[in-house]
Structures are given as structure tokens and as C-alpha cells.
């Protein structure tokens, strides 16, 4: 190479500056409020110790119990949403009219929003709603059917709003797996169950972890349905309610920030655990070669 060529620099690419507006927005709307929250969580209203808000949260049963209440809702909701998604998405993995119909039907709850779903659920599952009346009318269950204003109401709402999300993610992962892999397994003697167990499932684990992580985060942050469909004073007093009360009923922003940070940290721990689990599995292209 001649020295002349070495001196020739490629023209500077100024297109990188196009990210500037996005970076500014992130700084203003996300990073600054986050740091602000961290800082005020260490500035308790009365006590001189900066750790007071955290110590308070973890020593006061009415506060730290909200962590368990939230987990008791978020973990089953995640397991149901992802667990039911897998067989349904597997059955609908081919692009058929049935797949398009189910997909369209499931997009609706996503677009409705939690408050509208909660309202619908109150009239459908409420004590004098259609669902209990049908159960009793058919003499299937004669005791009082209570599916609202308790744990079950919130769990059902988390499934209704979370399942379509988990299903659509799972469907896209399943239909991304080359179907000739299962055919190949079939010609080698694998029954349909073994084709699923040995081929589809292991290839699906990374995608399912992602779907589960997103479902979990979504469920863990439950707020409107915990109030509207749950028992926000007791069994469904989730952590976001605790943060809301601290901020807007006690006007203790420091405590509210501390609760929010505990909440984020708990989510982070569980999501990190899921991704550690995922590392034990193959993750990479899900096709069987060139083609």
C-alpha cells in the first residue's frame, strides 16, 4: 500500500448525529427521572439515615408483604400465559385460516387496555354477572361464585391481557422453526410427541424465556386491575399500590421511590435468573442448514 493511500481518510460519517434526538429524549424522559428517583429514595423525610426508606420497607410487614402478593400473582400468571401459549401456538404453527382467526381475536384484548377489560370482567364475572349465572343455571356449581374483588379477579385479568401477548410472541418463535426439522425427525422414526419434545421444544426455550420474561415484567407491574378487580386493601395489595399510596396518599416521594426501586430490582433478579437458565440451552439459528 502506498503512503498516499494511507493518508486518504474515508469521509467522516455524520449520520451518527441522527441518534441525538433519541438520546436527548431518553436522557430527559428516562435516565434523569430514574437517577432523580434513586437519589430521593435515599432522602427520607424524617430519619437521618439515608437507608431509612429501604429499612422501613423491609421491616414493615404491610410493605414487604406486597412483594409476595405481587409474586403470587405474577408468577402463576406468567406460567399460565406461556404454558398455554405453547400448545396453542404449536397447533396453529402453520399459516392457516384458523391461525389468522385466532390471531385477530387475540389482538383485541391487547388493544382494549386494562381498564376496559376490568370493566367488562366486572359485569361478566361479577356476583350477578353472566358467568356465575350460567354456572348456577346449569347446576354446575351451586355455591356463591366469587371471581371479582379478590385474587382470582386479578389473576384472570392478567391472563386475559397477558395471554395474547405471550401467545403472539410464542407463535412467532414457533413458526420461525424450520418445519423440515420435524419432518426429518419423523423420517428417522420420531413420533409426533418426540418431534415436539426433542426438536421443537429445545429450539423454543430461548424464545419462551424471552416471552416469559416480558410476561412476568408486565404482570409484576399490575396496577389498575389489582384495584378494580382485586381487593386492594388486602389480598391483592400489590407493590405498585404500595408505591402509589406512599406517593399520593402520604406524599412521601422518597419512600415511593424506594419501593419503585425495590420493585425494579425484584424484576431484574427474576429476569436475570431466567436468562441464566436460558444459557443452558442452544440458542442460534433454528433452521437445519443452508437453504
Amino acid at each position: 500500500m502506498s503512503t498516499g493511500a494511507l493518508l486518504l481518510k474515508p469521509p467522516r460519517d455524520r449520520r451518527g448525529w441522527l441518534v441525538a434526538p433519541a438520546v436527548l429524549l431518553l436522557l430527559a424522559l428516562f435516565i434523569y427521572p430514574f437517577i432523580y428517583g434513586v437519589v430521593i429514595s435515599f432522602q427520607p423525610l424524617e430519619d437521618p439515615s439515608p437507608w431509612y426508606n429501604y429499612v422501613h420497607f423491609f421491616t414493615e410487614p404491610s410493605q414487604w408483604n406486597t412483594l409476595w402478593v405481587t409474586l403470587k400473582l405474577a408468577v402463576p400468571a406468567t406460567i399460565i400465559n406461556v404454558g398455554v401459549s405453547v400448545p396453542v401456538a404449536f397447533a396453529l404453527r402453520r399459516n392457516t385460516p384458523a391461525q389468522r382467526l385466532v390471531t385477530t381475536l387475540l389482538v383485541i384484548p391487547i388493544t382494549l387496555g386494562t381498564v376496559l377489560i376490568a370493566d367488562g370482567m366486572l359485569t361478566f364475572y361479577g356476583p350477578s354477572g353472566w358467568f356465575p349465572q350460567v354456572l348456577q343455571g346449569l347446576h354446575l356449581y351451586m355455591d356463591e361464585v366469587r371471581l371479582t374483588h379478590n385474587f382470582w379477579g386479578v389473576l384472570i385479568s392478567l391472563v386475559i391481557s397477558g395471554f395474547p401477548f405471550a401467545f403472539l410472541l410464542t407463535l412467532s418463535y414457533i413458526s420461525g422453526i424450520d418445519p423440515t426439522l420435524a419432518s426429518a425427525a419423523g423420517t428417522l422414526g420420531a413420533s409426533p410427541w418426540n418431534q415436539f419434545r426433542l426438536i421443537y421444544f429445545p429450539l423454543l426455550v430461548p424464545g419462551l424465556t424471552m416471552a416469559a420474561a416480558l410476561s412476568f415484567v408486565q404482570a409484576f407491574a399490575v396496577f389498575p386491575s389489582a384495584i378494580l378487580l382485586g381487593a386492594p386493601a388486602g389480598p391483592t395489595r400489590v407493590i405498585s399500590i404500595a408505591a402509589y399510596e406512599a406517593a399520593f396518599e402520604q406524599y412521601d416521594y422518597g419512600l415511593a421511590s424506594a419501593i419503585a426501586i425495590v420493585m425494579g430490582f425484584a424484576q431484574l433478579l427474576i429476569v436475570a435468573a431466567m436468562f441464566m437458565f436460558r444459557r443452558a440451552f442452544y440458542s442460534g439459528p433454528t433452521t437445519g442448514g443452508k437453504g
Binding site: L188, A190, G288, G289
Partner: protein
Amino acid sequence: MNQNFQQLRLESVGRSFETASGGAVAALRDLDLTIRRGEFIALLGPSGCGKSTALNCLAGLTTLTSGAIWLDETRIDVLPSERRGFGMVFQNYALFPHMSVLDNVGFGLRMRRVPKAEIGRRAREALQLVQLIGHENKLPGQLSGGQQQRVAIARAIVIEPPVILMDEPLSNLDAKLRIEMRAEIRRIHTQLERATIYVTHDQDEALSMADRIVVMRAGTVQQVGTPREVYGRPRNLHVARFMGYRNVLPFRVVGQEGERIAMDREGVRLAGQALAVGEGQREVSVAMRPDDFELAGDAGDNTFEATVRTVEFGGRDSLLFVSSVLGDLYVRLPGALEPGDRVRLRIPAERALAYAEAA
């Protein structure tokens, strides 16, 4: 499945698909074929001719809409693919990306509940056969295309299937490797002494590998024959064109006696071979391969003059596009010719094939 089978029989196998508008399209019609043990059969045809459908019907990946498939006296088209026990090599290899090479090859044995130690031993033997020892613990993604191809072959043969099905297994490889793998697949076939059914759209591949070639078009069989028969005596114009008879010209019949036919076009007298011409046929189409032309010394029957238009240099010889009184032709000739050169060409009588069909 029976490894010591004598023959695999396809009886008027057909498969049609429903179209979006509710009609039915036949992808495969009335395929009759008897394959003996030890035979290497190539299903040859352009894309969409039904050759892959035929293979999928054999593998059990598609159900038949008519006909039956028999392995000796066992009817197998009613069995699901996992109970047929045929080995299949897919066009995209379909290797399990999350399993090591050894686990991929051992998969079929694992499904047959073979003891673990034996799986390892037999999978290594199969890898030895395809010359891949040393790669057992790699994932398929770490192998080159040719190596992946060989893993796919090893995986299909390790279960000792009576029939091995191959769906364009070489189409994703580069030209040099493709030629090497032809010999490799043929060697493995000879060593195993089972039946191989090989789908391809490449006539050179079919000619060089197969014992018998089944030429297909639009779901129907056009010709079944040895490579020599299909190459030398294509049954119709379609097969002829597919086998490289690029020049098809109409001629007037002057006289015919059995397979010998005398023809005329624009004052050029041509003696040829009538392959599918009935008595009394007035007009015929004559198919000629570019390679069969030669430079003629003197004028006479089967010779004509031509002007070179373009030259496509090919090393030992060149593919020329020439124009003549007969029309425009593709001709392959040795030597250095330039556009504008005048040449006198001759086509041997046995290499000018006459068909009654219109061109």
C-alpha cells in the same frame, strides 16, 4: 422395515392439492414405477414437475390422493413417515441445530431404542463412511455446506433403511464440491446395496449417477430409461429439450423407412432418425444437440453453410450462435472461430432426431 426387500412398487401414485379458489391441481399423476433393490433411480425434471412431491409421498411427508406404494407385499403408503423407516436427505439438510454431529447421526437409532453404547459405535461408523471422523462433537452450524451434507447422509443411512430418498441434496453446494459429492453418494450407494431415489433438476447429475432416470414434467412421467437411453433416444421433444437438444427445427418429410427418415428444409437435405414419427407424417420437428455438429469438408447431405454470430469461449471448445438457411442454431465446435466467419456444418444422421410433435 424390511431391509432385504426385493422391490419397491409405486402403483399409479397421484397427489393433488387444493387451490385457494377451491379447485384441485394435480402435482403428480399416475406414477407407475418398480424399483429393484440396489438400484439408483433419479427423478429428473424442472421445478414444479412433481419430482419432490413423488419423493414426499414415498417418505410419508405427503399423503397420496390416489394409488398405492408397496414394499414387496407390504403396503406402506398408509403408514406414517416414522413407521416407514426410509432414510431421507433433505435439500436444506434439516440437521438439528441444537444437537452435535454425533447426536444428529444417532437420532434415528435413539428413536429405535438402540442401547447407548451401540448408538455411539454405529453413528461413528456412519461418520466414517462419509469421512467426517473428528467432527463428532461440533454443532451443525460449525460445519461447511459439504460437511453438513455428509452429516445428513450419515444420519439417513445409519438406520440402515431399505430405501434412501434424496431431495436435490447437492443443489446448495458449489460446483466443484457437487462433482465430488456425486461420486461420494454413488460410492455409498454401491456399498449399502439398497435402493436410492434421487431427485434432481440437473441432467448431468442424473446421467452420471443413476441406473435409471425418470424424466418428469407437469406431474407426469415422460420417460423411464437408462442414462444412455434417455440421453441418446429421448422419447419426446420435451425430454429432448431437457437433455440438451437445444436446436429444434421444423422439416418436411421426403421419405421414411422404419427409423430412417429423409427430410428437407430450404433446400437442405437431411437424413435423420425418426423416434416418434408415424407413417405418412408430412411435417416433423428435428432436435439436435449443439455438441453433435461437426465441421464438414465438402457439401453434401446433412451439411449446410452458416455464419458465426456470437462466440462463447469454453476452453476446449466454444459455444457458437450461428445463422443459416435452416435458421438460428447453437453449435459447439473446437478451434478458434470469430463472429462473421463462414463455416460448413454437418450433423450425423443418427444425431438428428425427428419427432412428429410441432416444435
